[in-house]
Subunit: 216 residues, 2 copies
Amino acid sequence: MPSSQNSRRRSREDVADTALRLLDEYGLPDLTMRHIADALGVRPSALYWHFPNKQALLAAVSERIIAPVLDTRVDTLPPRDALIALGSGLRERLLAYRDGAELVSSSLALGLAESPVRPRLAAVARRAGISADLSRIAADTVTHFVVGYVFHEQQRQQADSLGLLAPREGLTPAAAVAAHDDALGGDFRAALLMIVDGFDASTGHDSAAPPRLCEG
Amino acid sequence: MPSSQNSRRRSREDVADTALRLLDEYGLPDLTMRHIADALGVRPSALYWHFPNKQALLAAVSERIIAPVLDTRVDTLPPRDALIALGSGLRERLLAYRDGAELVSSSLALGLAESPVRPRLAAVARRAGISADLSRIAADTVTHFVVGYVFHEQQRQQADSLGLLAPREGLTPAAAVAAHDDALGGDFRAALLMIVDGFDASTGHDSAAPPRLCEG
DNA sequence: ACCTGAACACCGTTCAAGT
DNA sequence: ACCTGAACACCGTTCAAGT
C-alpha cells in the first residue's frame, strides 16, 4: 500500500515518456541524452541511474510505441484477415510517432525490444494449419517486412516535407504529398497481401518444389 | 587521352575504397570521418572536398557493396528461380561486409543510393505476366524483406560473437554459432519462397478477394 | 535512493588560408 | 584543384561527491 515502492518505477517511466514526446517533436537525430535530461529538468548523468545506457532507454521507448497494437482483436477474423489486421496495426503504431520505424527497427535488431505482434502472427499462422517452424518464419517475415516498409515510408515523408518532392503537374505540393501517401498505403496493403497469400501457397514446400509462377 | 581528367575521380574512389575497408574491419559505429581521413593520411576536412557530407560518402560505399549483384545472370531461369536468385544474391552481397545491411538500408531509405536489384526484380515479375504496378510493388517487397532480414541476421551474428550466445547442450560455442547461421540461411530461403509464391497467388487481387488461407 | 559537477574522449562540419 | 589549421557546437559515458 505505501507509495514508496512505486516512486522509483514512476521515475523510470517519466524518462521514457519524456523521450517519446521529444522523439515525436524533434526526431530521432535530436533525441540526445542531453536533450532528454534538459526536458526533465535534470543533468544528463542522472539518466544513467535509470538506464544503463542510451540503447536501453531507446528500447523502453520502442516498447511504448508498439505495445498498443495488442488492442487489435483478431480472434474472430479468418486467418488471412487476421494477418492483414496485425500487419496494418503494427504499421499504424510505427507511423504514429516521428521516426518510429527507425527506432523500433534498431531496438528489435539489437534484441533489446520484443515485438508483441510476433507471437500473435505465429499463433494465427498455426491456427490456419501451418507448421510450427513455418509459422515462426512467417511471423518474422511479416514483422521484417512491415518495419522495413514503414522505415522507408517515413524517410520519404521526411524527404518530402523538406521540399525534396518532385513536382507533379496540376497538383499543389500539399495535394501531391497526400496523393503520394495514399499510394504508399495502397502499396503496403498489396504487398502485405502478396506475403500472406504466399504462406498458403508455400505450405509444405521443399527444395524440389515445382515453379508456381505462370510462365511469360 | 591525358590522365588529368581522371585524377579527380580516382581520388573520390580512393576515399570510398578506404571507407569500405574500414567498415569491414572495424564496423559502422567506428566508421567516422576522422578515422577515414587518418587511414588516407589526410585531414578530416579534406574529405569535404570529395563529398558534401558523411551520408553522401556512405551512399557511395553502399553502391560499391551491392553493385556486384549485377553479375548474377537470371535471363535463362524460370521466374520463380530468377527471383530467388536475385534475392539470395542481394543477401550475399550484404553479408559480404560487416554491417553491410545496416549501411545499405540507411542509404536506400534516405534515397541516396539505388538498388540495382530493384529494376531487375520488376523485370522478372513482368516477364511472368504480372502487371507493371504489381511488379514494382513486388520488387520493393523483396528488396525491403531481404535488407531487413539480413540487417537482423548481422546484428545477431555480432551479438553472438560478443559472447551473448545462449549456450546449447552438447555443442561447442563455435559449432552452435555455425548451426545457428545455417538455420538462418534456411529460414531466409523459406521466407523468400513464401513471398515469391505470394506474387502468383495475389495476381489480380482486389479488396473483395476471398480469403485464400485454409481455415483452422 | 537519486542526483550534481566536472571531466574524458570523442563526434560532423565550416571556412579562411595555404600550395 | 586539393588540402591544412583551427575552430565551433556538439556527443555518450563515468564517477566521486553530495543529499
